[in-house]
């Protein structure tokens, strides 16, 4: 077939039923089979690495360009570094990243407080809009949360009381 540099003449019947029109990837992909030549294209100019960039171990290098938005840092960064030792095929990659994301939320709050900013979580969650457009729903959610919280507190109080009685 096109772009095939290897000689398959020793394989009887090689390619006799090949039909280039039978390509379910078209028109998404204009097949050139260039990737059969491997990672051999002329790469764009490489972006200088000014911050730590973690890269998948399913590729040999950092891509020519990359985002520098939020380099790994703190405890979440340590977990992310460990995660990138595993392949994208491994839960050992993705689950620690999710854990790191949750730890990063706490780090974000600490960072806010350190810089003198008390995060307004009510505003950040957009409750102003919820209050404006879905007041009934918001009140219902608040009531359910209050009842559940009361139930949990009451349960533990009762448990504590029972313990004291013995």
């Amino acid at each position: 077939m096109e772009n095939t540099t290897k000689d398959y003449s020793h394989i009887k019947g090689w390619g006799i039923d090949a039909d280039p029109k039978n390509d379910p990837t078209y028109p998404m992909k204009r097949r050139t089979n260039e990737e059969h030549l491997g990672y051999s294209w002329e790469r764009p100019t490489l972006q200088p690495q000014t911050v730590e960039i973690l890269h998948s171990n399913e590729r040999p290098n950092v891509t020519a360009v990359f985002g520098t938005s939020t380099p790994p840092s703190g405890l979440s960064g340590m977990i992310r570094r460990l995660a990138f030792k595993k392949t994208e095929n491994d839960y050992g990659h993705w689950l620690p990243l999710i854990l790191a994301d949750r730890i990063n939320v706490v780090e974000g709050i600490i960072e806010d407080l350190r810089s003198g900013h008390v995060p307004n979580i009510f505003a950040e969650k957009g409750y102003k809009a919820e209050w404006k457009y879905n007041r009934g729903g918001l009140l219902r959610k608040a009531a359910v949360a209050a009842i559940l919280s009361y139930g949990v507190v009451a349960y533990f109080r009762a448990k504590k009381k029972r313990k004291h009685n013995y």
Partner: protein
């Protein structure tokens, strides 16, 4: 500059961040004129995409005026008003050369399964996005496209994702004249997929969702049938009956990870994160398409696993086609459709919200408040 700032699941705010700068000779800096919140931003907002770091700015649908260009940029210049495809693509790798601009191999170091995407976590390259006053645009010779004279910026901003994704969803369906197409999800992309299905000659287009105002909008905007899955019993059985017991020719999943409608999928996929989101839409698609039919997936899922009836894919002889839209490949045709009045993207926009109120904007879109279909954010320096 003012920018959206992610603080954790369901928590975002607008805050001051440093101005972006040229970091590569093919970079450009744009002053953002329009940016949208996309349905797929909600996966980030809900905390379901791994490696979404606190402090990041989301936003992969935006237009802007070029303020600065790197030394290797030749295709655009300072002052140009450009629309910026959500894919970050080098144009040089084997995949870009085959027009797989959503699968570039030189834009995302963190994962090989997806190319770089603006403002879409480190799993998609770690780039800040366009929900800001300014944004860094890498590979400015490849992606950014000058907005044709006379085109409304509201139309242009929807050409960065919603229109090409909806169009490619229909295109990947391999729709033949007279085919019945079922679209799961009446969000902006689903509505656009329904609309575009007609362009490929569909004979019947059905959209399935559970939000009545969106179904009503879809009926009017995409001239299709629209049904609430809470009112039709089992949607698979309903669709079988509607197609003389054959099943649809083509089913499109335009929902992705946030799907409702199946308690087991919702609990394992969205609440417990045991799956990469709830796969209800693709599950229904597989079971309601006809034997030998085609499933087209543009709904976004996380990078781990999902529970779907793969045995039925085999037994029914189905073809599954899926990809991130290749915006650059599709733009010439779609610009033509907008200019000729075949498509009216800005008709999807229901909310224009100042960037300063980004927290409320996310809440409104996420909770489907105030009959929201598509919100756009206007930054204080948009200028138009």
């Amino acid at each position: 500059m003012l920018a959206m700032n992610y603080r954790g699941p369901l928590r975002v705010r607008a805050s001051q961040k440093p101005m972006p700068k040229i970091e590569h000779p093919q970079d450009a800096i744009v002053r953002v004129t329009r940016s949208c919140i996309c349905g797929s931003d909600l996966h980030l907002y809900n905390g379901s995409v791994p490696d979404t770091r606190v402090g990041m700015t989301f936003g992969h649908e935006f237009t802007g005026i070029v303020e600065e260009v790197g030394s290797e940029v030749t295709k655009i210049k300072v002052g140009d008003h450009v629309l910026v495809p959500f894919n970050i693509a080098c144009g040089q790798c084997a995949f870009c050369k085959q027009e797989l601009y959503g699968n570039c191999h030189e834009s995302n170091p963190q994962a090989t399964a997806v190319g770089g995407i603006f403002g879409y976590s480190h799993t998609a390259g770690g780039y800040n996005g366009g929900q800001a006053e300014y944004a860094r645009v890498p590979y400015a010779n490849v992606g950014p496209t000058i907005i044709p004279e006379g085109m409304d910026p509201d139309d242009a901003v929807l050409l960065t994702d919603v229109v090409p994704t909806g169009y490619q969803a229909a295109e990947m369906g391999g729709i033949q004249k007279g085919d019945t197409v079922v679209v799961f999800g009446a969000g902006p992309v689903g509505i656009m997929a329904a609309k575009c299905s007609w362009l490929f000659g569909a004979g019947r287009v059905i959209i399935i969702d559970q939000v009545d105002y969106r179904l009503e909008f879809a009926r009017n905007y995409a001239q299709c049938e629209a049904y609430n899955f809470n009112e039709i019993g089992d949607p698979v059985l309903f669709l079988k009956k509607e197609t003389d017991w054959m099943g649809a020719d083509v089913c499109i999943d335009a929902v992705g990870a946030e799907a409702a409608g199946n308690a087991m999928q919702t609990i394992t996929g969205r609440k417990l994160l045991l799956q990469a989101g709830s796969a209800t839409a693709v599950h229904w698609a597989i079971n309601s398409v006809k034997k030998g039919g085609i499933i087209s997936i543009v709904g976004v899922y996380g990078p781990t696993d999902n529970l779907i009836p793969i045995g039925n894919v085999l037994n029914k002889g189905l073809t599954i086609r899926a990809n991130q839209a290749s915006v650059k490949r599709l733009l010439p045709r779609l610009i033509e459709h907008v200019q000729n009045g075949v498509l009216n993207p800005k008709g999807l926009i229901t909310h224009r919200i100042p960037l300063e109120e980004v927290s409320d904007a996310y809440r409104i879109f996420s909770e489907k408040l105030d009959n929201c279909i598509k919100p756009i954010l206007i930054s204080p320096s948009a200028g138009l």
